[in-house]
């Protein structure tokens, strides 16, 4: 599966640059690359006997900002919010490490999951998505020897 958007990774050079100039190269070039305002949110995946749980870090959103879609075996999670404009109320920024605009991440689901019963809840800045597995009836059968 392909990545949903190009994600430039931090290199040791970035760190050197920041240590030396006191600001990140992304700031200088006007780029916005930190993991949390980037379109790919950090995600934990937990697997239990009966379900998978995704924990998508998405601080600063509202429940209504999210859309979770399943198309064939691809689960896509998207969120959009309006960015606050710098004005009187926000003041002057001394440090700006995050912004909120949008996030998007796709996941390829394995077989034997119950796509009808995927559920999601947003709590404390984390979107929890529960993907139940299909419980297959265990077949045990005694075979008589004729």
């Amino acid at each position: 599966m392909k990545s949903v958007s190009s994600n430039r990774t931090a290199t040791p050079f970035d760190k050197l640059f920041e240590d030396f100039f006191g600001t990140s190269i992304d700031n200088v070039l006007g780029r916005d690359m930190s993991p949390l305002n980037h379109r790919l949110p950090a995600t934990n995946i937990i697997e239990n006997d009966d379900a998978f749980t995704l924990e998508v870090s998405a601080p600063g959103f509202d429940k209504g900002d999210f859309s979770v879609n399943l198309e064939k075996d691809i689960l896509s999670i998207e969120a959009k919010t309006e960015e606050k404009k710098d004005d009187e109320s926000t003041g002057k920024f001394h440090l700006k490490e995050f912004r909120h605009r949008s996030l998007k991440r796709n996941f390829t689901l394995p077989e034997h999951i119950d796509g009808e019963n995927i559920s999601a809840k947003y709590e404390k800045g984390i979107l929890f998505v529960t993907i139940p597995k299909v419980v297959e009836p265990k077949i045990s059968k005694n075979i008589e020897i004729g």
Binding site: N7, T43, I46, F93, L95, F107
Partner: protein, 131 residues
């Protein structure tokens, strides 16, 4: 189950992992100044007010997690962020009145407000009438 790469680990990044993770901090912070005070916004996904502790010692503001590791360890297939550890420090300027500090945690963002001392606030320009 797998997903799109969050970042591509290679040996070079492994070597730099410590600085990498602190540099690309999960707890990204915005600090803004208005004429009456400062606002510090920290991304704290997974935390609410019960899990956080704020403390001022001299001129340093500490933001810490008070969460303890759960007894049953959760087995992650993939782990890209942690919701237990948090430790941040901010050196406050002397113009801040530390008794006015207030904070709220909402939707994974901790917002700390600090007011400036009365004498440090920007006063509106004053016109002096010429007699």
């Amino acid at each position: 189950m797998y997903c799109t790469k969050y970042y591509k680990p290679d040996t070079r990044q492994q070597l730099w992992k410590k600085s990498y993770s602190s540099y690309r901090s999960l707890h990204a912070t915005n600090i803004s100044e208005t004429k009456d005070g400062f606002t510090i916004d920290i991304l704290v996904p997974g935390f609410d007010k019960e899990g956080l502790e704020l403390k001022i010692e001299k001129d340093i503001l500490f933001v810490k997690s008070t969460k303890e590791a759960p007894e049953t360890t959760i087995k992650y297939n993939k782990k890209e962020f942690d919701t237990l550890k948090l430790h941040k420090r901010f050196r406050l300027p002397s113009t801040i009145d530390t008794s006015t500090i207030s904070a709220k945690a909402e939707n994974g963002i901790l917002s700390i407000s600090l007011e400036k001392k009365e004498e440090a606030k920007d006063k509106a320009p004053k016109n002096i009438t010429i007699q």
